[in-house]
Amino acid sequence: MSTSSSLGKGKPYFQDTVARLKSYWAERGCIIQEPYDLEVGAGTMAPETFLRVLGPKEYRVAYVQPSRRPADGRYGENPNRLYKHQQLQVILKPSPADVIDQYLGSLKAIGIDLAKHDIKFEEDNWESPTLGAWGIGWQVMLDGMEITQFTYFQQCGGIDLDLVPAELTYGLERLVKFLQNVESVYDIEWAPGFTYRQVRFADELQFSVYNFEMADVPTLWKLFELHEAEGHRLLKLGSLPLPAYDETLKCSHLFNLLDSRGAISVTERVGVIGRVRKLAVGVAQIWNEREQAEAVTA
C-alpha cells in the first residue's frame, strides 16, 4: 500500500479531502472547529450553527459533524446509505457577495476541475420543523450527483435572523466516493492502508441492530422525559442556554431512536416533535436576547 498522501492523480484519501476543505475555509477567515460531542442528526444542529446564526454578531466557522440518523441505517449492506455520515459544515455570517465563487473555489481546492464537469444549482429550500428553522437555497449537483446543500438561513428557533448566514453542507462520503471513483462508500480509502469499511463498518452494523431491534423503548421514553425536564429546568434559570441546548439535542436524538424503533404512534408524533421544538425555541430566545444585549453594550 502506498504511503503517499494521495492515491494518485486527482484521487485523494478521505482525510485529505477533509483536510483540504478545512484549510481552504481557514484561509477564508473561518474558525476550524471540532465536531460537537453529542449525537446530532445534522451539522446544522451543532450549536456552532444553531446558536451562532442568531443575533447581530459576525461569525465564520467550519467543522466536520458526524451526523446520526438511526432510521437511515442499513446494517452496512447498502453502498450509499449510512446510519452515521459525515458532513463538513461551513457557516459564513453574514454571507459574502461572492459566496458562490468561494464555494466553487473550494471544489477546485479538492481537485475537481470544474471546466471538465457539469455544475448545477437546483432549488432546494431547507427546513427543520424540530428546530423552527428554515432557509432558501439549492442542492448543488455535480455531474448529476448532489454534493452540497447550500442555504441562506432566514429563520432559526422561530426568530428572524439579523445577518443572513450562508450555510454550506458538504456530504463528505459522496464527495469522496466521486473523487475516488468507487461504487460503494465502504470502498473509500480513508487513509493509506485503511478503507472506510475498516473504520466504520462495525459501527453501521451494530447501531443498525440496536436502533431497529434492540433499543429498549421504555428506557428511551424515560430518558426522553428526564432530558426534557432537565431542559425546561435550565430554561427557567434563563442564564444557561448552552446546557439547555444539550438537553434539547438529547431529546431530538431520542426521538429519532424511538422513531426508528417504530415506537411513536400517529397521535404522539406531532406532539413529540412539538415538545422538542419547544425546548429549541426556548433556547434560541434566551441565546438571541443575550446576543442582542451584548451587541448593544459592546
Binding site: 453502498p79 453574514p94 458562490i100 448545477k120 455531474d143 432566514q154 471513483n181
Partner: protein, 644 residues
C-alpha cells in the same frame, strides 16, 4: 424605429426554473406600463431569461417627456390689485405674464406655466428599483440583513443602458452599470439568453445523439421546460446503464431517471421497450473526456442499486403482513392513521358493491406506504403496491386495482381501467373528502393542502366516465363543494354552457351518469327551433306561479276547461306526457318541445287570471302540472336564450 434603445439585465444567483417565465412576463408588462405611464414612448421588443438573469430590451424611447403646460387658476378679477400681486408672487410670475379667463362664476386670473419634460433616464432611475423588487415571486428571501430587500435569490449585478448611457440606480448595494457576467464556467460566450434557442439546441442535439441508433426519446415537455430554464448553455449527452437493471420495473427506472436525475428515458424505436440509455442535459458546452457522462452513469447506477436493494428488502414482508404497520402512518393528524382509513375504505368498497377482488385491493392499497421503495420514491405510491401485489401472487384484478387507485392524477390522466380499480379509487377519494370535511379541513381560496379539489374531480370523473350510477347522497358542505366541482367539470372540462348545467342541476341530481345523459340530451335539443321559445314560456309559467304564490299540484278539472286553446293545451299535455315517459332523454325532450304551439296559443288567447276563482285556480293547476311534469330532465326556466 427612431429613438433610443433600452437594455436591462438583472443578474441573480440561480432562480428556480419554474418561476422564471411568470416573472419575466410580469417584468415585461410592468415595464411597458411604466413607459406608457411616463409618456416617454418606446415598447418592449425582446425579453429573455436564464437561471441567472432576466433580460429586457425596448426600443424607441424618447430622451425625455415632451414639454407641457399647466394652468394655475388665481383670484377673481374683482378681488383687486392686492390679490393679483399675491397670486403673481405665489406662482413666481410677473403680472404681465398672467391672463384672465371667464368662467361661469365670473372673470378670474390664471397663469399658464411651462412644464419641461423630465429626462427618461431620471424617470427610469426612479422607477426601476420598484419594478424589479415588485416582481411577485412565490417565495422570497432576504440576504443583506433582516430589513433588507426581498427577492427570489440575491441580486448580484444590474445592467441598465439607455442608448449608450447607464441608467443609474441601486438595489441592495448593487449599482447598475454596463457590465454583465458570463456563464459560471464558460464566460460571456456561454450564455444563450433566448429560451427558444436553448430549447432548439437541446432538441437538435438529442436528435444527433440518437441518430442511426434505432432509439427514440419519449417526448416530455415538462422536463424539457425544466432543463431549458436550469441551464444557460445546455448540451445533452447520451449515457448508458447495464442491461441487468432493465429487470427492475420500468416505472421505477423512469421515475429515477425523470424525477431524481432529470434525465430523458430512451426507448427502443422498434419495440417501444426501455433501452439501457438515458439523456442528461449539461449546463456546459462539452464533455471531452467523458467525465460528466461517467459521473452521471455512476450516480444512476447507485440509484438503481438502491432501488434494487429496496425491492429485495421489501419482498421480505408481504403487503398483507404490512397492514398492522399502517397504524403508525398518519393519514391526517385530526383524522387518524392509514390503518383506520383502510378499514373505512374496505367498508365503503363493500357498500358500493365492490367484489371480493375490489375489497382485497382496498385492504392492501395503502400497505406500500411502509415500503422502502415508496419512502424513497413517493411518486410511485400505488404503482409499487400494484407491482408488489403481482409479485406476491395476488390475483390480477387485485394488483391492477392497487396499481391504478390514485388515478386520475390530473385532468389529462385517465381513470382506472378496471371496475375494481374504479370502485377502489372512488372509495379512497370519497373517504378522503368525507373525513377532511368532517374535521373541518375544507379548501379555501387557493389553499387546498389535501388536494381535495383533485380528489373531488377524480370522484366525478370516475362516476361519469366509469358510468357508475351511485346515488348522489352527500350532505352539507361536502354536497355544496361537490356540486361546485360538478359544475366546473361539466362546464370547463366537458364544455357545456353554464345555463344548460344550471338547468339540469336545478332538476336535481340522482346520480352523475344521469346528469351527464340529461345534459347531453338538453345540449342536442337546444338548437332545434321550438326549444328556446318553449324554454322562455316555461320561465313565464314559473313566474306566473310564483306571483300567484301557487303550489297546489292537484289534478286538473277537465270540466272547467274552456274549449279552444286551453283544452288543446290540456290534451297536448296528456299526449306529450305519454311520449316523454321514457328514460331516453333526447326523444323525451324532443316530445316536450312539440308543446310549443299549444303553449304559445294558450298564452295568446287565454287569460290565466280569470275573474272566476275556480277557473283561475284550475288554469294555474294546469300550468303547475305542466311545469312539474316536464322539469324532471331540466329546469327550462334556467335556460338563457342564445339569441335575443
Amino acid at each position: 424605429m427612431s429613438g433610443l434603445p433600452f437594455y436591462l439585465e438583472i443578474g441573480s444567483e440561480e432562480i428556480p426554473d419554474w418561476m422564471i417565465v411568470p416573472a419575466l412576463n410580469h417584468l415585461q408588462d410592468s415595464f411597458q406600463s411604466c413607459l406608457d405611464g411616463s409618456q416617454v414612448g418606446g415598447r418592449v421588443t425582446r425579453v429573455g431569461a436564464t437561471p441567472r438573469r432576466l433580460v429586457l430590451q425596448a426600443e424607441g424611447l424618447r430622451e425625455s417627456q415632451e414639454d407641457s403646460t399647466e394652468v394655475v387658476m388665481g383670484p377673481p378679477k374683482s378681488a383687486g390689485e392686492g390679490a393679483l400681486r399675491g397670486f403673481a408672487k405665489k406662482t413666481g410670475a410677473t403680472v404681465d405674464q398672467l391672463q384672465t379667463e371667464t368662467t361661469a362664476k365670473g372673470e378670474y386670473w390664471k397663469f399658464t406655466r411651462a412644464v419641461p419634460g423630465r429626462n427618461t433616464a431620471d424617470l427610469l432611475s426612479e422607477a426601476l428599483p420598484g419594478l424589479i423588487l415588485g416582481i411577485p415571486w412565490p417565495k422570497t428571501m432576504y440576504w443583506t440583513g433582516k430589513n433588507g430587500p426581498r427577492w427570489i435569490r440575491p441580486i448580484r449585478w444590474l445592467v441598465a443602458l439607455l442608448g449608450d448611457d447607464v441608467v443609474p440606480f441601486e438595489i441592495a448595494g448593487v449599482r447598475s452599470g454596463r457590465e454583465s457576467q458570463g456563464h459560471r464556467m464558460l464566460g460571456v460566450k456561454g450564455v444563450i439568453v433566448s429560451a427558444d434557442e436553448r430549447r432548439a439546441k437541446i432538441e437538435r442535439e438529442i436528435d444527433g445523439l440518437i441518430a442511426g441508433k434505432d432509439l427514440r426519446v419519449k417526448p416530455d415537455p415538462d422536463l424539457l421546460h425544466t432543463l431549458v430554464y436550469i441551464t444557460e448553455f445546455p448540451t445533452p449527452i447520451l449515457g448508458s446503464f447495464e442491461e441487468q437493471y432493465l429487470k427492475l420495473p420500468r416505472e421505477v427506472l423512469t421515475t429515477v431517471m425523470r424525477h431524481h436525475q432529470k434525465y430523458f428515458s430512451v426507448e427502443n424505436a422498434a419495440t417501444g421497450e426501455l433501452a439501457p440509455h438515458f439523456i442528461a442535459v449539461m449546463n456546459t458546452d462539452a464533455d471531452p473526456d467523458g467525465l460528466v457522462r461517467q459521473g452521471n452513469e455512476g450516480v444512476l447506477r447507485g440509484r438503481f442499486n438502491d432501488a434494487r436493494f429496496f425491492w429485495e428488502v421489501d419482498q421480505k414482508k408481504t403487503l398483507a403482513d404490512r397492514l398492522p404497520d399502517l397504524a403508525h402512518v398518519t393519514f391526517q393528524a385530526k383524522v387518524g392513521s392509514y390503518l383506520e382509513k383502510t378499514h373505512r375504505v374496505v367498508a365503503l368498497v363493500k357498500e358500493l358493491g365492490g367484489n371480493e377482488h375490489a375489497q382485497r385491493a382496498a385492504l392492501l392499497a395503502k400497505c406500500d406506504l411502509t415500503t422502502d421503495m415508496v419512502k424513497e420514491f413517493t411518486d410511485l405510491q400505488g404503482i409499487v403496491g400494484g407491482l408488489y401485489a403481482k409479485e406476491q401472487g395476488e390475483p390480477k384484478p387485485v394488483s391492477r386495482a392497487i396499481y391504478e387507485h390514485y388515478k386520475p392524477l390530473s385532468m389529462e390522466d385517465s381513470i382506472p381501467s378496471t371496475p375494481e380499480g374504479r370502485i377502489l379509487a372512488l372509495a379512497d377519494k370519497l373517504d378522503t373528502l368525507r373525513e377532511c370535511f368532517r374535521v373541518g379541513l375544507m379548501p379555501s381560496g387557493s389553499r387546498d393542502p389535501f388536494a381535495l379539489r383533485r380528489a373531488a374531480q377524480g370522484v366525478i370523473r370516475i362516476l361519469v366516465e366509469g358510468n357508475i350510477e351511485l346515488p348522489f347522497a352527500e350532505t352539507g358542505e361536502l354536497r355544496e363543494f361537490l356540486i361546485d366541482r360538478i359544475r366546473y367539470y361539466f362546464r370547463e372540462v366537458r364544455g357545456f354552457r353554464y345555463d344548460e348545467v344550471n338547468a339540469v342541476l336545478a332538476s336535481g341530481i340522482r346520480d352523475l351518469p344521469d346528469v351527464a345523459a340529461r345534459l347531453e340530451a338538453l345540449h342536442q335539443v337546444r338548437p332545434t327551433a321550438d326549444f328556446e321559445p318553449l324554454a322562455a314560456s316555461f320561465k313565464r309559467i314559473a313566474n306566473i306561479l310564483k306571483q300567484a304564490n301557487f303550489s297546489n299540484g292537484g289534478p286538473v278539472d277537465a270540466s272547467l276547461l274552456e274549449p279552444g286553446p286551453e283544452h288543446d293545451l290540456f290534451k297536448d299535455f296528456d299526449r306529450v306526457r305519454q311520449n316523454a315517459k321514457t328514460s331516453d332523454y333526447l326523444p323525451a325532450l324532443e316530445a316536450i318541445a312539440t308543446l310549443r304551439p299549444a303553449v304559445d296559443r294558450f298564452f295568446d288567447k287565454v287569460l290565466v287570471n280569470a275573474p272566476d276563482d275556480r277557473i283561475r285556480r284550475n288554469r294555474l293547476t294546469l300550468l303547475s302540472n305542466l311545469l312539474t311534469e316536464f322539469s324532471a330532465i331540466a329546469d327550462f326556466s334556467e335556460i338563457v336564450p342564445s339569441s335575443t
